[in-house]
Amino acid sequence: MTDAETIARWVAPGSRVLDLGCGDGVLLKHLWQTRQAPGYGVEIDDANVVACIRNDVNVLQMDLEDGLAAFADRSFDYVILSETLQTIHRQEPLMQEMLRVGREAIVSFPNFGYWRARIQIALAGHMPVSKELPYQWYDTPNVHHCTLVDFEALCAKLDFKVLERLVLTDGSAVTTLPNLLGSLAVYRVSA
């Protein structure tokens, strides 16, 4: 299972979705084809924006760091942030914007508390490099890593309710010691 498949399962058929950092638009295309969920993507990268148009996906070239002023309150059922949270400079206002614009937010991110990451820092003494984190520290687009514990603490601080959580490693669900054994986390939260 991938986080995209998880997200598709969580999205109710026919609901309206906004995908922040939508890449080439494949998730939106998948949601339209499998859940008949119409949506828009927000993307900043030129090549990805053109790819979205080629994929016949609505895309808006905007910078997430500027907020979501283009979108009205409660105009979406789900606002999705798939493996993009760690690239954002200011998570807190964006999370608040997501739940202003959407009824629910779906957020996935690489778990920095995953044991392989911990070992690379603790024993090898270098920043983690893995399938989910394929970058060197000096060329990574990621700026704010977090663990499951950190993300849930932020949700608590913002008064957001965690409705659902799925933790994955190599495509399989992890239920035991997720913050240690899970490499990717997917959350569904509401205000």
Binding site: R16, Y40, D46, A47, V49, V50, C52, I53, R54, D56, N58, V59, L60, Q61, M62, A69, A70, F71, A72, S75
Partner: protein, 368 residues
């Protein structure tokens, strides 16, 4: 691609937004590609201030005279005329073939001159709809334009919601800012205070308010380019070895503006310039909805592609985002590109891989 201009005449009067009536009119147009049997592949291209119906290709007797959007429109181009039937049209009030101030007023047998009514974007669209009827096009696959042409593409979606499947809106604004209007007013004042203007009745006096037109064009040109693009292109390069300490041309940019002004004043009509700038100033589809653009777009049914350029300070990206917001509020299908191009407003005419790639992809997904 060898093309030929055509004309369509309309004898049923056209009631204008101002209340004036145009008793009869002609529209100059060109077509590229073939209308398919289902008549579902027609694309209307709308031009901006100084262009015309000559969008693409060249005339047999003028092989150098390429259409103003020839890089965008043609066989294998982003708007592919092997697939689409493309129509370039000249709006009324212009001076390139459609009825305008230089045309003969049927009531007097003389050129309309100052008596030609002020026309608006809405009037242009109404006239274009007559052309569509004439060509047997019930519904356009797309209406497309940049700058003032983009206003027509927007207005099509509002005036005739059922007749437009896609509205492609490039380097646009939903309304001019006070600064935009200010530049237009300076241009108009330059023309109207030229002693050769004669209140707009200069045709029979054998003169043209050339000085005014030159200055109007110079002002326009400044607003079409970004500060960076102008600096890059001209810098502070001198035309002579040392500064002259007089008022002849010192800098390259002065030479460029004078050249552009001179050229423009030989082919463009002053009465047309006044009217086009007024059409720009008046355009504001939100006005009748208390300034609420979202309400104005409630009637739109088209899908939209909106494109802006980050260095465009004449119609900035913020203006295009207002359009996008209004479309989102109405749950329209819309994509928005904000191209980081350096040229300023004129970027909409330039070949750019991202911009052209997106247009090509967008047109490719329009089912016929």
């Amino acid at each position: 691609m060898i093309v030929a201009p055509q004309k369509a005449s309309f004898t049923e009067p056209l009631k204008l937004q101002s209340g004036a009536v145009l008793p009869e009119f002609e529209i100059a147009y060109e077509t590229y590609g073939e209308l398919n049997a289902a008549r579902s592949n027609a694309v209307l291209v709308c031009h901006a201030l100084n262009a015309s119906h000559h969008v693409a290709g060249a005339y047999a007797n003028e092989p150098e005279n390429l259409g103003w959007w020839d890089n965008m429109v043609g066989p294998g181009k982003p708007l592919d005329t092997d697939r689409f039937f493309v129509i370039g049209n000249n709006y009324i009030g212009s001076c390139f073939g459609s009825t305008g101030p230089t045309s003969t007023n049927p009531a007097t047998g003389k050129p309309w001159g100052a008596d030609f009514p002020v026309v608006t974007v809405e009037d242009w669209v109404a006239a274009q709809a007559r052309l569509a009827d004439r060509l047997g096009i019930e519904r356009f696959a797309a209406v497309m334009g940049g700058s003032l042409g983009a206003m027509q593409a927007l207005q099509w979606a509002l005036s005739f919601p059922q007749r437009v499947r896609n509205s492609i809106v490039i380097a646009a604004t939903p309304r001019l800012s006070a600064q935009n209007i200010a530049f237009n007013e300076v241009a108009r004042q330059a023309i109207m205070t030229d002693p050769d203007f004669h209140g707009g009745h200069y045709y029979d006096k054998g003169v043209v308010p050339r000085r005014g037109l030159r200055i109007a064009r110079m002002i326009g040109h400044i607003t079409y380019l970004s500060d960076d693009a102008m600096m890059e292109k001209f810098g502070r390069v001198l035309r002579r070895v040392t500064p002259g300490f007089d008022f002849d041309i010192d800098f390259e940019i002065e030479s460029y503006l004078r050249h552009q002004g001179d050229k423009f004043s030989t082919y463009f009509d002053a009465n047309t310039y006044l009217r086009i700038t007024k059409a720009l100033d008046y355009y504001d589809p939100a006005a009748q909805y208390g300034g609420d653009l979202s309400k104005a777009f409630a009637r739109a049914q088209a899908d939209f592609l909106v494109v802006s350029f980050t260095s465009d300070w004449r119609f900035s990206s913020a203006r295009s985002r207002e359009i996008v917001r209004a479309l989102l509020d109405n749950r329209r299908v819309v994509s928005y590109l904000e191209i980081d191009a350096p040229q300023g407003h004129d970027a909409f005419l330039m070949d750019d891989a991202r911009y052209f790639g997106a247009l090509r992809a967008y047109f490719g997904n329009i089912a016929l």
